[in-house]
């Protein structure tokens, strides 16, 4: 049963509160934590809210985006320089939930949710993690797999803005809006004279956390950016994913369609 809800006014106060309260759960937008709490849980006895800790806001500097971890998905979509992310953000839940859900929280929601993590992996984003004394900077793909240690807080996510038109995204779900992922594909592809010189691909919905499709990236880099080579490279995805069964799709189906959606994301057909 919940004993305390704290809303500290700064990051140091938040760390102090986490250290003071036993069995505390961090809460930002509440869209993942509150369903658990409302359903009844013994997993934690206190909540520490990040709402007033000063971790929201976006700044664009020298071609990079610095995003406070408590920035909501709606506020993120309103930043003109991040317009390329809007089609991806609009596939995440509903506008009402996006007014609440945060960038930091979205990293840790259970699959098949958390599509922004796949986007951040494709963008080569890093996350700043504070333990109250020190900070470390982890690639997002590492952080979503390792998750946070006790007393740690994600304070910021940052990435270099991709070249115009290089960010690709597609999401397969059971309905057009407000759907969980069967497969989510995000990618940043750079091609010079028709040859792929750089690519990073993030996948959601096909493993315990969002993952990087390194095998596909390796297979595609240096190849012609066309249907034949993209189709061939996308087949390598089975080495990067560990799909699961849920009420939306079977693991078999996810594995079967992942290469198709990678191709559709990359070349639009």
């Amino acid at each position: 049963m919940l004993q305390t809800v704290a809303t500290p006014g700064s990051l140091p106060e938040t760390h102090a509160m986490l250290a003071k309260l036993g069995s505390a759960c961090l809460i930002a937008g509440g869209t993942a934590v509150m369903p658990t709490l409302n359903g009844g849980t013994d997993e934690f006895t206190s909540l520490v809210s990040l709402r007033a800790a000063g971790l929201s806001g976006v700044s664009i500097k020298d071609g990079s985006a610095l995003i406070g971890a408590a920035t909501t998905l709606s506020d993120l979509a309103d930043v003109p320089a991040l317009g390329f992310l809007v089609p991806a953000l609009e596939t995440i839940a509903s506008p009402t939930i996006r007014n609440m859900a945060t960038v930091g929280g979205n990293l840790f929601v259970k699959q098949p949710y958390g599509d922004l993590a796949a986007c951040l992996i494709a963008l080569g984003a890093t996350a700043t993690v504070s333990d109250g004394t020190n900070t470390r900077i982890d690639p997002v793909e590492k952080l979503v797999a390792s998750r946070l240690g006790a007393g740690e807080i994600v304070t910021q996510v940052s990435f270099a803005l991709p070249a115009e038109g290089s960010f690709k995204f597609t999401k397969a779900g059971r309905k057009a809006m407000n759907a969980a992922a069967i497969v989510t594909v995000a990618a940043v592809v750079t091609a010079t004279d028709g040859t792929v010189t750089q690519c990073r691909i993030g996948l959601g919905g096909v493993a315990e956390c969002a993952v990087r499709a390194r095998s596909v990236e390796e297979a595609l880099t240096g190849k012609a950016f066309d249907r034949v080579h993209v189709t061939e490279a996308a087949q390598q995805a089975e080495r990067d994913i560990e799909p699961f069964d849920d009420s939306y799709a079977s693991a078999w189906y996810r594995a079967r369609v992942t290469p198709v959606h990678i191709r559709r994301a990359l070349i639009g057909e």
Binding site: Q3, T31, M34, N38, A93, P95, T96, N99, M100
Partner: protein, 164 residues
């Protein structure tokens, strides 16, 4: 377990309430303030029946621990209804037969209010997107989407009349 005092501006009036840890905004509105127009559906953020406007943005009241939003301004379905008659959104829902059992209606109307505050002339897709977090298990979506667009037209007309 320590109770705490939370101050909110609810439908224009300043309210203070004593709440147990983890009390949701939904519970505070329904149980403490008697504002039962905001519905409890799933308690999971999945149905949208508890949609209210918090500091100008639509949010789900079941997902907000009220202690974390001390000082916020809340508008519920009750704030929309004038002393006499109905709000244009309510009129559009009523006259367009956009309510069947009516359970989802207050959430649908608040989601519509949130949309029209930002976008007075929405497309059909904008309307669908705006209510994509609200579930109607009578599945009367077409009539609801029509009502959202009709409400937008009524509000634009009212604004034009006022300006003229």
């Amino acid at each position: 377990m320590k109770h705490s005092v939370v101050a909110l501006t609810i439908n224009g009036a300043e309210r203070q309430m004593l709440v147990a840890p983890g009390t949701t905004l939904l519970d505070a509105l329904r149980e403490s303030q008697g504002l039962t127009g905001t519905r409890r559906g799933c308690d999971q953020g999945a149905c949208g029946a508890c949609t209210v406007i918090v500091d100008g943005k639509t949010m789900m009241a079941c997902l907000l621990p009220v202690e974390t939003i001390d000082g916020a301004t809340i508008d519920t379905i009750e704030s929309l209804t004038p002393m006499d008659g109905l709000h244009p959104i309510q009129e559009a829902f009523l006259e367009g037969f956009a309510t069947q059992c009516g359970f989802c209606t207050s959430g649908m109307i608040m989601a519509t209010a949130g949309l029209l505050a930002k976008n007075p002339d929405p497309s059909r897709e904008d309307a669908v997107r705006a209510i994509s977090g609200n579930i109607c298990r009578c599945t009367g979506y077409e009539a609801i989407i029509d009502a959202v667009l009709d409400a937008a037209a009524r509000m634009r007309a009212a604004k034009r009349d006022k300006a003229a």
